[in-house]
Each structure stands twice: as structure tokens, then as C-alpha cells.
């Protein structure tokens, strides 16, 4: 908007913030870009748009990604020249240093008009980078690279394919309706969906809440919805006027077993034809003991590793937990150093770190655990040796950093996270009303 020539007052009016706040954001932008004037900011935006608008929005090619990259063929030529001239081992080392992860936006754009409970809405916009989302809370990707988004504030499930977005379900600002996906057929309300998941057959699942009852629905290849399971009263009062989503999490094994995080019930349930308690409901943290006797507090995000060990974003406990598939025991993977939220511990043991309301979790093929440290506006990772480190986000809330190293980017309350089969990390940057991506973060799953 600065680049569009808007004054701070005009920006404030458009964003429903104060002029003072707009000025503060501009100051942060200047600091971040290392420039002094509005004109320099404008010049930077023009350069960035030229870069960002050039590539199509389609999902990246599914190729084996090297641990280092050179962005342009000319760079190879330059590198070869340097090597030839210098013949230096130092130059070789520099060339083979891994590139830092970069972040970019794949879905969503700035709202023209903010709506309650945040985010925005316009009639379907096909180009994903122009789409208007409202508090996207969850994202999932199938094996063909089709992205599904729980556009929670708009009461819609979105699908992005080849850079084009469509609405699969929901009429916007109202509960989902039962019926054929993609049509306005409506009979009974399905309630509100905050969570999406995809199984190994590319079947889409939704976790919904209707009359305080959690339900799971599947979507078959013909677009028909099927009720999978209802999970009983859960005391989750959902309204679009209250930012009370997500209601829980969902993870599916290759064999089709469902794990459902029941946020309000402080538990994780397993559904394999019958529903059983898998973790939670206890009164003590319970690390090392049976998961079914452990305490969970407001569990949301779920993810499975190769061995089907379950990782839980134990949001209210400010921890990431892990349930051992074979033993049924629970341990803390990250967080738990203190009683309250915090933002410490990078470079050290993950269990001595402080987190702030982690909401989403994913597991890489090598066992690295990635999670959204939502209250800190960051993403962090725990390596297989148990060390925690920064992955993305400077820790300051805002929207910045597309095209820059991910650790320098700004996020705003990121919630859902999904690692696709090609190793791309999708992030529901919830309060920025966008889905962002760190491409090629890990090798194919």
C-alpha cells in the first residue's frame, strides 16, 4: 500500500488499524529493508513484484532436491569461472554450503476490507495468490500436489490446484452444508470445519463440530461426503463471531486408522472402526507412562512419523508430545522447561526450551519434528538428536520476508503445518490470512 502511494492514514483506514500502528509497521518495514524513505520502500516492492509474479503458482516439480542449489544457469557459469580462476578449496566450500530455507506465499493476499473475526472474503477469486482467506487454520496436500485449506473464518474448505483456487464446501460465513461438494445442495448443517487431512489414497477428511459434537467426514473421489464417526459431546461452542477454531486435529495412518485430537476434551482418540482413547484425560503430565493416563491440555495438531508414532501439539501445555506406537507411552519432545509460555532454548535440548502455544506439527522423513510456535509467530524444528532450532520467523509478528531466508520472515499466529510428499512445508499463516510455503525443505517422503 505504501507502494501504491497511500498515506499512513489511508493505510490505517484500509486495514482498520490506527495511524500510529500503520506508522509503526512502516518503521519495521524500513528497518527490515534497510531503507529510509517511502520511495525506497516502493522501489523494493516493485522489484519484489517483478520477481514474485514471474513464476506460476503451480506446486513445485517433485524432483529430488539437492542440499544446495544455484538459482540460475548463469550462476553455474560464474561458479565455474571462479573455480577455474581461483582453483581454491575455499570457493568450493562456499559453493556447497546449503542454501537457507526460503519462504514464499502460495495462497492469499492482503484484504481490502477486514471482516470479523479477521481476514476477508470476496467472491471466489481463481488465482490463488489473489485469494481472500479468513483465518486459515489447517492445510493438507495430496500426492498430486493439490492443496486443501480450512478457511475457517469464511466457513469454507478451499482447494488449490495449479495455482487456481476453488471452494469445495461452505457458503461463506456460515456452517458447512451436507451435500455434494462443489454444489450448493444443502440439507443439514455440518457445522464448522477447522481441520483438513488427506489419507494415502488422496481422500480428503474434515474434522467438524456440530452442536458441540466433533465429527469426521470423508470426501470420495466423486465429491460425495460420507459421515465417518461422531465423537460425542465436546463442549466446544463454535461461532464465527468467536475465534474459537481450530477445534482439534486429525492424522491418518497408511492403513486408514484415524487419530483425532479433541481439543475441548483434552484427549486424542483413535478410530479404527471403533473409537478408543489413545492419549490424554489424565491429571498429571505423565511422561514415560501410558499415554491414556497422561495430561493433555488443548491438543490440536497431530502428525505421524514413518513408524506411526503420533506427535501431538499439546498447545495448552506449551509442549510437543510423542506417543510411541509400539508401547503406547508418551513423552515430551519439545517444551516443558517452565510453567508458562516462553521463547527460549534454540540450539539446546528441545525439552529445556520454552514454547508458546504450539498448534501445528509435522514430521520429516528423517524424524525431524517441525511445529508452529504460534504465540511466538515462528516455526521451530527438533532434530532427531533432540536439539531445537529456529526454522522460520523472526519472532516479531507481521507479514514480511517472502523470497528471503525463512528465519528472517515474519508470520502472524501461524497454526496448521503440513509436510507434503515432496518435502515442501506448507504453513497456515493464520492471522496473515495466507498459506505460505518453505519449498524443498526436506527430501521426498
Amino acid at each position: 500500500m505504501v507502494a501504491q502511494g497511500l498515506t499512513n492514514r489511508e493505510i490505517a483506514a484500509k486495514l482498520f488499524i490506527s495511524e500510529r500502528t500503520a506508522d509503526g509497521h512502516l518503521e519495521h518495514i524500513r528497518e527490515k529493508l534497510g531503507v529510509n524513505t517511502r520511495a525506497q520502500v516502493t522501489a523494493w516492492v516493485v522489484r519484489r513484484e517483478a520477481v514474485e509474479l514471474a513464476p506460476p503458482v503451480a506446486r513445485p516439480a517433485r524432483t529430488q532436491v539437492p542440499t544446495w542449489t544455484l538459482a540460475h544457469p548463469r550462476a553455474w557459469l560464474g561458479a565455474a569461472l571462479v573455480l577455474a580462476i581461483l582453483g581454491s578449496g575455499t570457493a568450493l566450500l562456499r559453493l556447497t554450503e546449503p542454501s537457507p530455507p526460503m519462504v514464499r506465499t502460495v495462497v492469499g493476499a492482503q484484504c481490502a476490507k477486514q471482516q470479523d473475526p479477521g481476514g476477508c472474503w470476496e467472491a471466489d477469486i481463481q488465482r490463488a495468490l489473489d485469494a481472500k482467506l479468513s483465518r486459515p487454520t489447517s492445510v493438507a496436500v495430496d500426492s498430486k500436489g493439490v492443496v486443501y485449506i480450512a478457511d475457517s473464518g469464511n466457513g469454507r474448505i478451499r482447494r488449490v490446484q495449479g495455482g487456481t483456487m476453488a471452494t469445495l464446501a461452505g457458503g461463506g460465513k456460515e456452517a458447512l452444508k451436507e451435500g455434494l461438494f462443489g454444489l450448493s445442495v444443502a440439507s443439514d448443517s455440518l457445522g464448522f470445519a477447522s481441520t483438513v487431512a488427506v489419507d494415502s489414497n488422496d481422500q480428503l477428511y474434515l474434522l467438524t463440530s456440530r452442536d458441540d459434537v466433533l465429527e469426521v467426514w470423508s470426501i470420495d473421489s466423486g465429491g460425495f461426503m460420507h459421515h465417518v464417526v461422531s465423537l460425542g459431546q465436546s463442549s466446544v461452542t463454535i461461532g464465527l463471531d468467536a475465534p474459537n477454531l481450530p477445534i482439534g486435529g486429525l492424522a491418518i495412518t497408511k492403513g486408514g486408522v484415524l487419530f483425532i485430537a479433541d481439543r475441548a476434551g483434552n484427549r486424542v482418540l483413535k478410530f479404527d472402526g471403533t473409537t478408543t482413547l489413545y492419549a490424554g484425560s489424565g491429571q498429571k503430565m505423565g511422561d514415560g507412562g501410558a499415554a491414556t493416563s497422561a495430561q493433555l491440555d488443548w491438543p490440536v495438531g497431530l502428525a505421524l512419523d514413518k513408524r506411526e508414532n503420533l506427535y501431538i501439539a499439546d498447545t495448552g501445555d506449551n509442549r510437543i508430545r510423542r506417543v510411541d506406537h509400539a508401547k503406547g507411552t508418551i513423552t515430551t519432545v519439545a517444551g516443558g522447561a517452565g510453567e508458562f509460555e516462553g521463547n527460549t532454548g534454540d540450539g539446546g535440548p528441545a525439552r529445556q526450551a520454552l514454547l508458546s502455544f504450539p498448534t501445528g506439527v509435522a514430521v520429516a522423513p528423517d524424524g525431524t519434528v517441525v511445529f508452529t510456535d504460534t504465540g511466538n509467530h515462528r516455526l521451530r524444528q527438533v532434530s532427531p538428536d533432540g536439539t531445537i532450532s529456529a526454522l522460520a520467523g523472526s519472532g516479531r509478528w507481521g507479514f514480511a520476508g517472502d523470497g528471503l531466508p525463512a528465519v528472517d520472515a515474519e508470520f502472524d499466529g501461524p497454526e496448521g503445518v503440513f509436510l507434503d510428499s515432496a518435502g515442501n512445508l506448507l504453513i497456515a499463516d493464520t492471522e496473515n490470512q495466507r498459506v505460505r510455503e518453505i519449498p524443498h525443505l526436506y527430501g521426498p517422503q
Binding site: 490506527s18 495448552g316 508458562f340 502455544f357 509478528w397 499466529g413 492471522e431
Partner: protein, 407 residues
């Protein structure tokens, strides 16, 4: 009241002038905390200023130093129950915290109150209006009793529970407007029925009758059937328990044609809403609506005006934000909440022989607050924690604007 407020003004001006900013970070014997969504909503910032203003006016309470600890319950750009609960736990962990102002929203209150209740931490809210926080209402989940696991109330508030607007509107309609026969419609569901019950009971006590009542869906756009029934029963006014998005003000426009000369009565679902002013059209009926607030700026009391000016002088940076006025309808309610806590802590110290009281003693002192003269009203609390005479205002539409009228 003027004398009391004038005394307060002198105290505030003197104390604030003598203190530098940054009192909030000082370590003190007594800490008053707040839990507000200040980074999510710019409009919440004046509450912190107002609380700070009240606390800075008192460098000590009965000889003990006092400081302010503002906490923010925003997570991303939203209010967060989780962060609010975490903030309350942090307050509880600090033994110097003897009370808190907040929360801002009822849905955050429903998760904070039980935490604070277990620790006997006094809470005073300037904005929450949900009946479920204080009243024994069957449809509430959780109930007010479930929010108080110790069985002793620790939550107090200055605004009325929402349905009390019905009682206030009825009293005004009967005594100031001289109305006697009212038809009512409800788009708020079970809680809306409670508005109408309170309206009906109060109206009857003053000689009026609710002659017709109908439940409507909030998507209703054609109110002609309702007006036909109201007219048949010779209603001289309509009480609409509905909001602007539920077409309440479009109903007012339709009433002009269906029931010429009838008065339209509403709730805070329409009062002070500019969209309503558009919906009622160019020839609206006489409209009156309640708001569970008291706007200090509209107060003609010279002492209040001086206090508002002193506040604006103390926080000049915020007053430049014209998109969010630095003094909103609830700003001085936050100021009053802090002052009520200070007053109660002072009484608790005295009752404790001059020693610092524990939290339960502070809760008891807040509950015993009697006729406390604040900027927004004079306060005592009932056994549920609701103000006996809660904040309430009546607005009417005049020349295309909402105008505050004396009660």
C-alpha cells in the same frame, strides 16, 4: 457526587503530575494486573491507559507501594482463551498480584474465571455482558456455578448482563415516553426471550403491557406479518431484540409505513450503530435503544469533564488516533474498575490490621463495596458479582445521529 469526583480529580492530577511514566514496571508491594487484547485491538489500548491512570494516581495504598502489570491476551490478531488463561496463571504465581481488571470478552472470561476462582483472585470487568458469567441460566454451558469451583464468587463487573437492557428499556419507555402497549420480537434465541421477560416484568410494574410477542429468525427481512399482529393489538411501540445484521433497523423503516406514529425500541444490537442509521431510511420512526455503557464524554458534570481532559493530557499520543478515539464508552469503566480494586485493597489492609491482605480478603472487600462513586456510576455488587446499578445508557436518533439522553 460532584464533590467526590472533584476530590478525585485533584488527587489524580496531583499524583499523576508527580510521577513519571513507567510505574508499571516498578516492583511493588501490591500489583494490580489486567488482561486485555491490546495487540489484537487498538481499541483496547485506552483501557490500559485508563487503568494506568487510576493506579498512577495512587503511589501507595495504606502505605504499601502499588504498581500496574498489563498483560495481553492476544494470540495472533485474536483474543485468546488460552493466552488469557496463561496470563491469569502468571498473575496467580506472583503473590503480589491482589486483583485484576478484565477480561474484555465474555468468551475469554469463561475460561479465566475458574482459574482465578481457585486462587481467590478478584476480577473486575468493564466490558463483559454475557448472562452466563453471573446468572443461573439453564442454557448456559458451563453454568455460573461451574465457573466458580470454590463456591465463592470472585468475579465482578460494571456492565449489566445483556437481558437487563430489557428492564432498563421498559422503565424508560413507561416513565419517560409514557408508553403502555408494546409488541416485541426476538431474534436472539433463548437469551433474547430473557430480555423480553425482563422488559415485560418491569413494564408491568409501571402499568404497561406487552400485548404481543413473536420469535423470529435473524434472517427475517419482511416484518409485515409481525406489524399486522402488533397493530391488531393496538401496540403503541415495538421492542426489537435484534441487531443490525438481523435487519432490526430495516424493521424500523418498515414500521414507519405499517404502524405510523409508533415508537421503535431496541437494544445495543442497534444503538450507536451507523449502519442502522442508514437502514432506518430518510423518515424513521422515533427510535430509542439501550447501551450497557456510560460515555464519560457525554457527562455534563464539570468534574468528569476535567477528569477526561486530564486523562487525555496524560496520554496525548493515543489521543491523536482519530480512527480509534482515546476515550470510548468503556474507557472510564476500566478506570472505575481499577479504582474499585484500589479501594477494596485499602479496606482489606485496614481490616487486616494494617498488614497486606491475602487474596480472599481482597475478594471479600470487593464484594462488600458499597455505593462507590465512580465516573460511570455508583457501584455496589450483588451476590453474583453484578453491579446493583449497572452501567446503562439510552440513545435516540436525532438528525441522523445517535444522541445520548438522560435516564
Amino acid at each position: 457526587m460532584i464533590k467526590t469526583l472533584t476530590t478525585l480529580l485533584v488527587t489524580v492530577l496531583t499524583a499523576v503530575a508527580c510521577q513519571s511514566a513507567g510505574n508499571t514496571s516498578a516492583r511493588a508491594d501490591i500489583i494490580i494486573a489486567s488482561d486485555l487484547p491490546t495487540s489484537a485491538f487498538d481499541s483496547a489500548l485506552p483501557f490500559e491507559h485508563a487503568i494506568d491512570f487510576a493506579i498512577r494516581s495512587r503511589s501507595t495504598i495504606e502505605g504499601y507501594s502499588v504498581a500496574y502489570w498489563p498483560l495481553d491476551n492476544s494470540l495472533g490478531a485474536q483474543q485468546s482463551q488460552l493466552r488469557g488463561r496463561g496470563n491469569v496463571r502468571r498473575m496467580i504465581a506472583d503473590p503480589s498480584v491482589l486483583g485484576m481488571v478484565g477480561p474484555f470478552s465474555s468468551f475469554v472470561g469463561r475460561i479465566e474465571i475458574p482459574e482465578a476462582n481457585r486462587a481467590h483472585l478478584a476480577m473486575i470487568s468493564m466490558t463483559t455482558t454475557s448472562s452466563c458469567l453471573t446468572l443461573a441460566i439453564r442454557v448456559c454451558q458451563p453454568t455460573a456455578a461451574e465457573l466458580r469451583p470454590t463456591g465463592t464468587n470472585n468475579f465482578f463487573r460494571l456492565p449489566a448482563p445483556d437481558p437487563a437492557q430489557g428492564k432498563a428499556m421498559a422503565a424508560y419507555a413507561a416513565t419517560k415516553l409514557g408508553l403502555r402497549r408494546v409488541a416485541a420480537f426476538n431474534e436472539f434465541g433463548p437469551e433474547g426471550a430473557e430480555y423480553i421477560k425482563q422488559f415485560s416484568d418491569e413494564f408491568a410494574s409501571k402499568g404497561g403491557t406487552v400485548v404481543y410477542q413473536q420469535e423470529l429468525d435473524d434472517s427475517t427481512s419482511d416484518f409485515s406479518a409481525f406489524f399486522t399482529q402488533a397493530k391488531l393489538r393496538r401496540a403503541d411501540a415495538v421492542y426489537a431484540v435484534a441487531n443490525v445484521s438481523g435487519n432490526a433497523c430495516k424493521a424500523a423503516a418498515q414500521m414507519t409505513k405499517s404502524m405510523p406514529g409508533a415508537v421503535f425500541l431496541g437494544t445495543d444490537g442497534i444503538s450507536l450503530d451507523n449502519e442502522c442509521l442508514r437502514d432506518i431510511g430518510p423518515t424513521p420512526p422515533a427510535i430509542w435503544a439501550t447501551s450497557p455503557t456510560v460515555d464519560a464524554i457525554a457527562n455534563p458534570d464539570p468534574a468528569v469533564k476535567d477528569l477526561v481532559n486530564a486523562y487525555l493530557k496524560a496520554y496525548p499520543a493515543a489521543s491523536t488516533a482519530d480512527l480509534f478515539p482515546n476515550v470510548t464508552a468503556y474507557t472510564f469503566a476500566a478506570f472505575d474498575c481499577a479504582r474499585i480494586l484500589i479501594d477494596a485493597i485499602g479496606r482489606a489492609i485496614k481490616a487486616n490490621g494494617g498488614k497486606l491482605p491475602n487474596r480472599m480478603q481482597v475478594v471479600t472487600a470487593v464484594a462488600q463495596t458499597k455505593d462507590f462513586v465512580g465516573v460511570t456510576g455508583t457501584y455496589s455488587f450483588d451476590q453474583n458479582g453484578d453491579a446493583v446499578t449497572p452501567m446503562m445508557s439510552i440513545y435516540t436518533v436525532r438528525d441522523g445521529h445517535w444522541l445520548n439522553v438522560p435516564l
